[in-house]
Symmetry: C2
Subunit: 256 residues, 2 copies
Amino acid sequence: MLSKNQIKLITSLQQKKYRDLHQLFVAEGNKLISDLIAAKTKVEYLIYTKEWNTKNSIGNQVKINNRIETDAIQMKKISSLKSPSSVLAVFKMPTREVNEKNIQNSLSILLDDVQDPGNLGTIIRIADWFGIKHIFCSCNTVDLYNPKVIQATMGAISSVNVSYVDLKTMILKYKKPDFPIYGTFLEGEIIYKCELQKKGFIIMGNEGKGVSESIQKLVSNKLYIPDFPCGEAASESLNVSVATSIICSEFRRQEF
Amino acid sequence: MLSKNQIKLITSLQQKKYRDLHQLFVAEGNKLISDLIAAKTKVEYLIYTKEWNTKNSIGNQVKINNRIETDAIQMKKISSLKSPSSVLAVFKMPTREVNEKNIQNSLSILLDDVQDPGNLGTIIRIADWFGIKHIFCSCNTVDLYNPKVIQATMGAISSVNVSYVDLKTMILKYKKPDFPIYGTFLEGEIIYKCELQKKGFIIMGNEGKGVSESIQKLVSNKLYIPDFPCGEAASESLNVSVATSIICSEFRRQEF
């Protein structure tokens, strides 16, 4: 069973300040935990119900110091999910290495104050699918280790490097005539008709406000995902993770 | 202020059986409510805080019998959101007319047991964006009037016709040599290389299980959204709403 202090520690990790303090984060569910362990993320605690333990062998192949069997009542206490899983793990935050060469020669995604954890998690999964290795988030973007982000990544978090930076500094560092800065705007060029490059930054904005003004000015290539037939959609825009997926798909289609 | 019975009625609408019984559903927030009213959805109650009422004029141009001013405490009671909005409306479920000719001559989306309300809401918004007028859901798909679905549609619900049907019967009714049934499968053809038709059904499956076996057999055109570089993604699949957006975008791109 878990001690009072362990329960206190684990529930505190639902808050960013304690995750940062302890450099720990929580993941729940078989698949997600297996993926994170397979990606060599270090486990601090592996916590499970008796029933789970008789059927599963997650992490048996790696050394985990703290394997703790507990019951459904304690699981409910430490879980951030409505229906707690029968397995939960506390991981050490990995140190993330930025690959300069990869950034210069390929596509990266920049997120300007994306707020919804589901959106960030989904965008990480999209980046993984389309072979985008780096996501740079503005400092006001939702925290990567927010439990809802972690759950929405479905394990893709282990293969995409997510860092928090000053976007303006980042863009000014890399922007060159042959390194385009892409963004989506109502007045942009129809994306299907653009010749898209194999490298550059794709900037996606906040759910309500879009890309902030100071960042807009740095965009070199304005794109637009047209509705169909043009101008007839009732909605004014697409959800930011949906727009990201369409953009990434179109970049990759042009390479096929 | 709201009476006890009104509070009881409104909170009961968080459950499908009471929504079906009363033929009513709830929407929250300025934008969503304005869009639904603009689309001529009939309002049963419009409920708001005093503060909201001094700044807003939703629905002033239409006749609404029950306009009720309340306080933040009652709003919290009737809201299904963590942070209740300052305006909530109860709408009559519209009668939805299926347009046979539109189905025969254009694209429709079929959902086979999609469970997550956020996914259904997002798919409705995608359908609206890409001019797809009909979505047919299997009877086990999450309920259209679930508050989380309504919130995720961002108003697009008023321009897309969503009905619950037996998918197999539906497919057998329309399937013809020149009316393709599309589905996504790992062994499908790379979507970017397929010549896609302007009409047909696009079937999207359950979040965990994909398209059910009996429906799979009826698919005439198997598609695949490839990861990039092929086979290197850590994730096994894309989220169902993300996959829907990529597919719809590719269908429309080919028409541009």
